[in-house]
């Protein structure tokens, strides 16, 4: 099903000419209203009226997360506060959060994009949408909420936390669609089993999961353990919140990015050069309809590639390959780039190994060490030490084969790796900064 037939299936030519027109407008707008962008454009020697076509976009300078911090809180807003109807902020684990403001039209567009996303994921009027994304400064809860209402579903504003109550409501209210992080969906299944509930027997049909990177193996695990179709959703507060892109349930292969609102580019993160279509690199997004805080060439730090081949669902908006991680999450261990998702894919490949893991990075002398904590369960546990040691060595070897680094596997007792009700914390980096 498609929510907005006209725009979601707009022929590429029409879509691109719409993008170019909107790009011109946003370039002029930010130059006129946001001092930061005026300075940036001037420094680069670019006049906004020179931006006519999509190819001109690469002449504009990038915007970084640091630029948002430097202009904290309202410096990048393109509208006065009397036109801003909502303010959100990122979690900001280090330093000040990044602040975003939405005009009434921004909220309308966001709602539209979330409605498209829900429908693409197979949700519809009559669904009971169990929204376990956090409500608050985080965009997840409210973003999903408005989209769910828009399509006429019954939305339960659960927010995160209080897992027992989540399960009770899920059972009693007959939730059919779950929105949360992928790791929390697994935690719910585990907690349900402890309560004697088989979560697969509940009415849940679809999970719309995002806000943290996950792998295809993790999808299989979730689909089996939770008994749902697991759909990947992409978003970031700097650009919109949830609903920047979504997988369609028809293909479950790559996330359609709403190109009537955004222009995606893939760049080489080291040189800043735009890469040819189809190559993997850092995703850069320009918002072309946003009024409150338009973003010009925002460097998302997410690593992906653009899939331009037409999709079986009929949408003409190109797809982003499943994010292999945020470059901020990337660890550099002894000079080797390591994404937690790569370790995850090794673990998920081994029969019986739990999807709960944590990476501990330390520095001993001048040497980085990586410890991978893996929970032992009834399937992997053996009475014989050599069997457990063989398991550890096998994981170590497969990680070495894939990444070329030595690590140490530490088998830990079940359920001792902290479960998260929001984004899973996969990495503990104890190296001196």
């Amino acid at each position: 099903m498609i929510w907005n037939d006209e725009f979601e299936t707009l022929p590429r030519e029409a879509l691109e000419s719409l993008q170019a027109k909107r790009l011109q407008r946003v370039a002029e707008k930010v130059y006129a209203t946001v001092p930061f962008y005026r300075q940036q454009f001037d420094k680069a020697g670019i006049k906004p009226e020179k931006i006519r076509t999509l190819d001109d976009l690469q002449r504009l300078p990038f915007t970084l997360k640091q630029d948002m911090r430097d202009n904290y809180p309202y410096g990048l807003f393109a509208k006065p506060l009397d036109q801003i109807v909502r303010i959100h902020a990122s979690s900001g684990t280090t330093g000040k959060p990044t602040v975003v403001g939405y005009t009434r039209r921004d909220i309308k567009n966001w709602t539209e994009m979330m409605a498209r996303s829900f429908v693409a994921a197979g949700a519809h009027r009559g669904d009971v949408i169990h929204n376990a994304y956090g409500y608050g400064l985080f965009t997840g809860g409210l973003g999903a909420h408005y989209g769910a209402e828009k399509i006429g579903a019954s939305v339960i504003p659960m927010s995160g936390g209080n897992t027992k109550k989540q399960l009770m409501i899920m059972q009693d209210f007959g939730s059919t669609v779950l929105t949360c992080t992928p790791s929390y969906s697994l935690y719910l299944a585990e907690a349900a089993a402890e309560e004697g509930i088989d979560i697969r027997q509940l009415k849940l049909r679809v999970g719309i999961l995002g806000a943290e990177p996950w792998t295809e193996k993790m999808r299989n695990e979730i689909e089996t353990k939770v008994g749902i179709k697991a759909i990947d959703i992409y978003g970031l507060s700097e650009i919109l919140g949830p609903g920047v892109g979504i997988e369609c349930i028809e293909a479950q292969a790559g996330l359609h990015i709403w190109e009537d609102h955004f222009i995606p580019e893939i760049i080489n993160p080291d040189t800043g050069d735009v890469l040819p279509e189809g190559e993997q690199g850092e995703l850069v997004i320009t918002t072309i309809t946003k009024e409150g805080i338009p973003m010009i060439r925002y460097r998302t730090r997410d690593i992906t590639r653009i899939i331009a081949e037409p999709c079986i669902c009929g949408r003409t908006h190109r797809r982003l390959e499943r994010m292999c991680g945020r470059s901020d999450d990337m660890l550099i261990i002894r000079g080797v780039n390591v994404f937690p998702s790569q370790i995850e894919s090794v673990l998920m490949d081994i029969e019986g190994v739990e999807p709960h893991y944590q990476l501990i990075v330390e520095r001993e002398g001048t040497m980085d060490t990586l410890e991978v904590q893996v929970e032992v369960n009834e399937k992997t546990f053996s009475d014989e030490i050599k069997v457990l040691q063989t398991l550890s060595r096998r994981i170590e070897k497969e990680i070495k084969d894939l990444l070329g680094i030595n690590c140490r596997i530490r088998l830990v007792e079940p359920k001792t790796i902290a479960r998260s009700e929001g984004k899973a914390q996969r990495v503990i980096d104890n190296r001196p900064k």
Binding site: V376, N377, E378, F381, S382, D383, E384, I385, L388, Q389, R410, L411, V412, E413, P414, K415, T416
Partner: protein, 143 residues
């Protein structure tokens, strides 16, 4: 002729063994024999108890990873050379011992050796063929 043994995965951190002992004690499960095999990160605690099913259920309920394995309990006179004779029998028959541990009976003056074999049925037949005394579970749990 086989005896049920419980094995528990235990991380090397303080209080875990005490926790096992506590939950079993609360359920009135009595430990007949135990051995702890350890590595730098974790240990495997192996227990013979008077009520295997209750112990298993209790430990699982407390969040431990537990499994049940079958071992053989051999009774030998508690005197020099007692163990050697058994090991020779096993060696001659080329039977591999995965691990073993032992304790001394309070009254009878015998030692009990617990063996874990790769091929438990073959081991039992061999030992019986040499008139080695093998304890049944019932007998052992009530020692």
């Amino acid at each position: 002729m086989k005896v049920q043994q419980i094995s528990i995965f235990i991380e090397n951190k303080s209080g875990r063994l005490a926790e096992v002992a506590r939950v079993l004690g609360e359920k009135n499960v009595n430990i007949r024999a135990l051995s702890l095999a350890d590595t730098s990160d974790f240990g495997i605690l192996r227990l013979l108890v008077d009520d295997t099913d209750v112990a298993l259920e209790t430990l699982k309920g407390s969040g431990f990873t537990v499994n049940k394995t079958e071992v053989v309990a051999v009774e030998v006179p508690d005197q020099p050379g007692g163990l050697c004779r058994i090991l020779q029998v096993l060696d001659e028959a080329k039977i591999n011992v995965e691990y073993m541990y032992a304790f001394v009976e309070r009254n009878a003056g015998n030692a009990v050796i617990i063996f874990r074999f790769d091929d438990i049925d073959n081991a039992i037949t061999t030992l019986q063929g040499k008139n080695v005394s093998i304890l049944t579970g019932e007998k052992l749990y009530s020692l």
